[in-house]
Symmetry: C2
Subunit: 212 residues, 2 copies
DNA sequence: TAGATTGTTAATCGATTAACAATC
DNA sequence: TAGATTGTTAATCGATTAACAATC
């Protein structure tokens, strides 16, 4: 895997999964080569930006020819770290947690879901996608045995502080956070990706109201 | 409602819901006034940025004093357009759609959910949150009667092109898009807010793999 | 009045776009 | 070789931060 040493900006990082998706589709559609110009057109970006972005990681193209779709896809696969699966657990198997477990192709996103935790008696013991829902009482024991690195939080804000505390003590290093608890404010040295669906909808509401 | 005429940048728009959330919490906790410096500290921003952002919309503070929490909250409420509810429908009542219907406080985000559509015979006729799931066959009739302006897409990519076509023909002006179909590429004059949960998780995977 | 903090202008920083020499 | 398109440097654009006069 080629790579350069300079720190990659978050703007670039956030575009990588999108490149990966588009390259995958091109590959599936049997497209063999593509120029930055044509990819830019399809993605609604500039050719310049695509070349700049890719060149953060190496030289993947051929002058006068463009990029080999399959090869570039493979490069992104490695850049994104899809070859190693991060062991993960999900906290909260309510509607949202349930939806993620059923919908999200975790393995295809570099994640291996090892455990599901919830405190609702109606859920404990149930099996979702071959994984048995456990009580959060079992959290510490589970972590000792499985060392999850990523925790997916689908729990109410109130439950989050205590749970995050315990997870960090258990060695969890990253959070995919659907709760509204501000993890980064309370824990340093931990990676946090916040998903605020409400903010996304509210921003859209704002734009709708601007229209006319 | 005070406001200025210059076009607001998307960077600012995306921060508005977060301001709104923080102001709400401060208000709930009985905080009466707050300075840009203190709000910045709590939100992990700079005081300069907060003042710049707010001054896109008006002058809400008092020199030497700061901002009145309740008043600023109200201003954001109006700026975000929370006083008018956008009529909306949701397409797809599978796990994700179901989770949104149950979890999302639509009214609190400026949206009124008027209809739910799905094609699964097991779902049609069922009632979720007081709304009866209808077949997509009824879409045109429903739109004629209710004129929804926003469609929430919780459907597979394959079903999206045809459905979006129909929705646009019905006068739908905005999409909250959880499918991977690229609406904006195929329809101009329509607002699209894409939610790519997979991209979010993949970006996190990348960052986890960079750590060490 | 003195102290604090805003609103706003100016300076800086970073990200995007344009240009072009290198080269397939 | 001629044409195309990359990799990369330089120019531009926009967003963030700093500074400070205005003023409560």
């Amino acid at each position: 895997m080629a790579s350069k040493d300079t720190q990659i900006s978050m703007s670039v990082v956030r575009r990588l999964p999108r490149y990966y998706r588009f390259l995958y589709d091109l590959k599936e559609n049997g497209v063999v080569r593509i120029s930055s110009r044509e990819l830019a057109e399809r993605m609604g970006l500039t050719a310049s930006q695509i070349r700049q972005d890719l060149n953060c990681f190496g030289e993947f193209g051929q002058q006068g020819y463009g990029y080999l779709v399959e090869q570039l896809y493979e490069e992104l696969y490695h850049i994104l770290g899809m070859d190693r699966l991060t062991p993960a657990i999900i906290l909260g198997a309510g509607n949202l947690g349930h939806a993620l477990i059923n919908h999200m192709n975790f393995a295809g996103k570099g994640v291996r879901l090892d455990g599901i935790f919830d405190d609702a008696p109606t859920l404990i013991g149930k099996t979702i996608h071959d994984i048995t829902v456990q009580s959060t009482d079992a959290l510490e024991t589970f972590c000792t045995n499985h060392s999850p690195k990523l925790a997916i939080l689908c729990i109410p804000k109130e439950a989050a502080p205590r749970l995050v505390e315990r997870l960090v003590a258990c060695g969890v290093k990253a959070f995919w956070n659907f709760s509204h608890y501000d993890i980064a404010m309370h824990h340093q040295d931990v990676l946090v990706e916040n998903v605020h669906l409400g903010d996304s909808l509210m921003a859209l509401s704002y734009l709708i109201n601007q229209e006319k």
